[in-house]
Amino acid sequence: MSILSMSNIKKSFGDNNVLKDISLEVNKGEVVSIIGPSGGGKSTLLRCATLLETIDGGCLKYNGIPVTHTNESGKIVYEKNLNQFRKIFGLVFQNFNLFPHFSVLKNVIDAPVNVLKKTKEEAIEEALALLKKMGLEGKENMYPCDLSGGMQQRVSIVRALAMNPDILFFDEPTSALDPELTGEVLKVIKQLADDKMTMVIVTHEMAFAKAVSDRILFIDKGLVVEEGTPAELFDDTKNDRTKQFLMNYNNI
């Protein structure tokens, strides 16, 4: 059974049909990358999946349980208790969205303690283990503003992992970083992939997407233009739009 199942998702902002008809299944342990030109709808898709936007059509399921259903008049109705689903996934934002007034440790343990109602000791123990794993040992008492962008992003990954999600979403996790800091974050995500973490990653780092993904979706104008394994998509590109897009990246 797939962890995430999005079928025929539609989403408009006013007259702007941002997602026209997108379906996506993610199974346990899979890493799916989403690539595509700016404005294509990648972030919107992720925001719909993470319940930050409401969909206008289609169906969204987590672990087989529907989050939405369509009522008699064709309108999408969301479940009452959405927090049960929020426990299933985690989201890593492009610009981290760490809580600046909390120390690194507090950023990581605050939600486990206040949302999952873990004991503080337990939360701290888990947090320290995760921070260590992500190369952030000894940074517990620093504040986000004192960390480099790469470290901040790793903290935000730890924050998401501390909630013990079944699936992790990334929206361009490195695009707000200095080029040289990009590497450290990508390395951490690679490590998660090696640990068989289920992930959906929106990225502009083609080389990285190629290296880490089981499957890649190319999205443009609210539709999945092309989908396949990295080998299929990069080395045997079928669609002209995809070809053009990939060329832009390769010729610099």
Binding site: N97, L98, H101, N114, L116, P144, C145
Partner: protein, 207 residues
């Protein structure tokens, strides 16, 4: 003139005590989704900010008598603090609103995705950051408040300005007014120093 200083300080402290939380309530009402409530609050705030505090003092003092025949209160500290608190709450509420709006939407989204409730998000994540960002504006208002206490003389509340005016009549010289001026200046210096201490205390993080 020492009793005048004490009475000035009384206005100052009670006004802060009441207007700071009252401002938050104003903000909630003003940003309420109910159009009627937010509209009324918007109007009230604009009147409070758009008319002289001197007038509001007179209105609070005599209003109940004129409108309902209710006896006015002899202890003038009460109408003074009521008028000041309502007036300053309007200013604080606008500062709060600006501060809340300045918090990036990402902070809300970050909290939502982690499963925080609305109340948790506001009180754990947003408010502490708002407090930091609005401190300089709040300091400005507090400095204005120190000076505005002199308006309480309108209701014959014997704060330092009125007392020094009366005393200058006794000794037929303006020196007491000068003393009052120094008092206000020093009071404001103290406010500035205290607030910059508070700001420094909050500077352990940057947004």
């Amino acid at each position: 003139m020492a009793p005048g200083m004490v009475k000035t300080c009384a206005i100052f402290f009670f006004t802060l005590l009441f207007s700071l939380p009252l401002g938050l309530i104003f903000t909630f009402l003003h940003t309420s989704k109910n159009r009627v409530i937010s509209g009324i609050m918007h109007f009230i705030i604009s009147v409070l900010r758009g008319t002289p505090l001197m007038l509001q003092l007179i209105a609070v003092n005599f209003g109940p008598w004129y409108l309902f025949g209710i006896e006015t209160i002899r202890e003038k500290l009460i109408p003074v603090v009521i008028a000041f608190s309502i007036n300053y709450a309007a200013y604080f509420s606008e500062i709060y609103r600006g501060g809340i709006e300045s918090i990036p939407v990402g902070q809300y989204e970050g909290a939502t995705v982690l499963g925080y409730s609305k109340a948790q998000t506001f009180f754990r994540i947003i408010l502490p950051q708002v407090v930091k960002t609005i401190l300089p504006s709040v300091t400005n208002e507090i400095i204005t408040l120190v000076k505005d206490t002199s308006l309480a003389s309108t209701l014959s509340y014997a704060e330092i300005f009125l007392l020094s005016q009366q005393y200058s009549n006794t000794i037929q010289q303006f020196t007491p007014l000068l003393v009052a001026g120094v008092f206000y200046y020093v009071f404001n210096l103290v406010v500035t120093v205290v607030m910059s201490r508070v700001e420094k205390k909050m500077s352990y993080y940057k947004i």
